[in-house]
């Protein structure tokens, strides 16, 4: 006998980005909180439609940048003026002028790391398995298909009512996906 699995949520397919955007507005207005849209490319206006706030990534970027700045500056000061003082080209052991390029580059590098890896972490990536992978048509989301999903854990979720709601919005093939 097959193992019993918990339900993850409902997923519905929409015809085009416009229909998905329209549906997203209505799902948001209906008061759902744990739901998501899936599309092959970013859709202008979707952030608003989903009621997503500002991203937290910029703060991680800033943190990365400041860390790089500090490391770059202390690295050059400590190695050149403290740990191994050596006069090169008649230049001082440490000066802000020559410290700028390395400090700048390290700030950029760590800010970029912060951006990319911060985005990965906030998106909980890498994620080898997702319940939607089992949906037979979901692969098309990387090509030409548009989906909207509502999770079971949403406080407003009700299998029958939510399903009817998605169908009413024009969603096709509304399916219940297991975890």
């Amino acid at each position: 006998m097959a193992e019993m699995r918990k339900n993850w949520g409902l997923v519905a397919e929409f015809d085009n980005p416009g229909a998905l955007l329209e549906a997203a507005h209505k799902v948001q207005e209906a008061g759902y909180r744990k739901w998501e849209t899936w599309s092959p490319f970013p859709i202008h206006g979707m952030d608003d439609a989903q009621g997503l706030g500002g991203s937290r990534v910029p703060w991680i970027t800033l943190g990365g940048g400041l860390t790089g700045f500090t490391i770059g500056l202390t690295l050059q000061w400590w190695s050149g003026a403290v740990a191994y003082p050596l006069v090169i080209g008649g230049k001082p052991l440490f000066s802000w002028e020559f410290a700028v390029p390395v400090t700048f580059e390290l700030s950029i590098l760590l800010a970029a790391f912060g951006t990319v890896f911060g985005m990965f972490i906030l998106n909980k990536l890498p994620r080898p398995y997702h319940p939607l992978d089992k949906h037979p048509d979901f692969r098309g989301v990387t090509d030409d298909k548009f989906f909207l999903s509502i999770e079971v854990s949403d406080p407003k979720f009700d299998v029958h009512r939510s399903k009817a709601f998605l169908e009413e919005l024009g969603g096709r093939g509304v399916t219940l996906v297991e975890e």
Binding site: L21, H25, H44, K91, E97, F98
Partner: protein, 401 residues
Amino acid sequence: MGHHKTFSDDPKVDPALAGKLFKVGIGVGVVGLLATAATLAMGEEGRHQFFFSWLTAFSFFTTIALGALFFTILHHLVRATWSAGWRRTAENIAANLPLMAVLFIPILVGMHDIYHWTHEEVVATDEIIKWKAPYLNTGFFVIRAVVFFGAWIAMALFFRRNSIKQDESGDVALTFRMRWWAPVCTLIFVMTMTFAHFDWLMSLDPHWFSTIFGVVIFAGAMMSCYATLSLIGLWYTKNGILQNTITQGNLHDAAKMMFGFTVFWAYVSFSQYYLIWYGNIPEETAWYALRLDHGWQWVGIAVLFGHFMIPFWFLMSRHMKRSRTALAIGAGWMLLMHFVDLYYMIMPTLHHGFHPHWADLTALIGMGGLFVAFFGRRLASDAVVAYRDPQLVASMEYDNV
């Protein structure tokens, strides 16, 4: 529920408002420049002061107009969408280049007072200047200035006229025609802009040279152009002009570009300083040695913090760029800093110690008056937005997240 917008504003400005801008501008311009000219009656020192104050104010407004010219070229070069609503405003600013050509005449008159290398006895005795004489001589200088202004005015008129033709016909072929010319104009612009400032500003110290000097000026010019556009956009929307066309997203974008060029300015300005500091060759370091002593070092520090360090943090956040008040303060401040930056490049040649003069201010205000007046006249003559630009509606729909 797609948010499809249509252009719904009046493309024309109330002629009374534009007329007022012209009258007030001319008034301020005439009074300001006459006041500046009073220094001419104050002997040789006053005459020198006049020409240097004039050159500083002239460079300030010329760089803004050149920034606007390149904004237009860039729009076509990269087939931009977001800047469609700004394009006519930039074309109108760039159309002040003929005015700047007229305002250049006093510099030709005062060449002997401004440029050390015009003195024959100096050329005869100075080895370095002697070698530069085939390029740095009065005749060739004048010819080059004519070529620079000729090229700029031709480009400014070409883009503005074709753009206005499109207002009437709505012909998309005009857009393609301007795009075709954009790469050519980019090359012409970059070369003329660089050499013009080699001639007019770098040659103030004929011994000194910096190959990145043109880029430093370019960065300041672009930053000032976006600051000016932001201020004009705020002024438009406050006065009920283009309220649905210049969106918050468009202002945000102009502010982003201003921020970007503030950082770019810092990058290239530091690059110039850094190589000279590291190379430590007397004929190069002399330029900075003069600017890091006798009070000038404080102006230098003001530029470092005022032009980069403080605005970097002030303009970084999205919130600041989307607040009308913060954007107005930021853009106004960056324009002021562009002036201080030019002042710091030009004025130490005249005053070896920091020595502000009221003529610096009257020249700036006077030329600003004329600049605004002729901008206002163009507001009255044609539509204030290229309202049949095929990209305009897309630029209105677009917003930043």
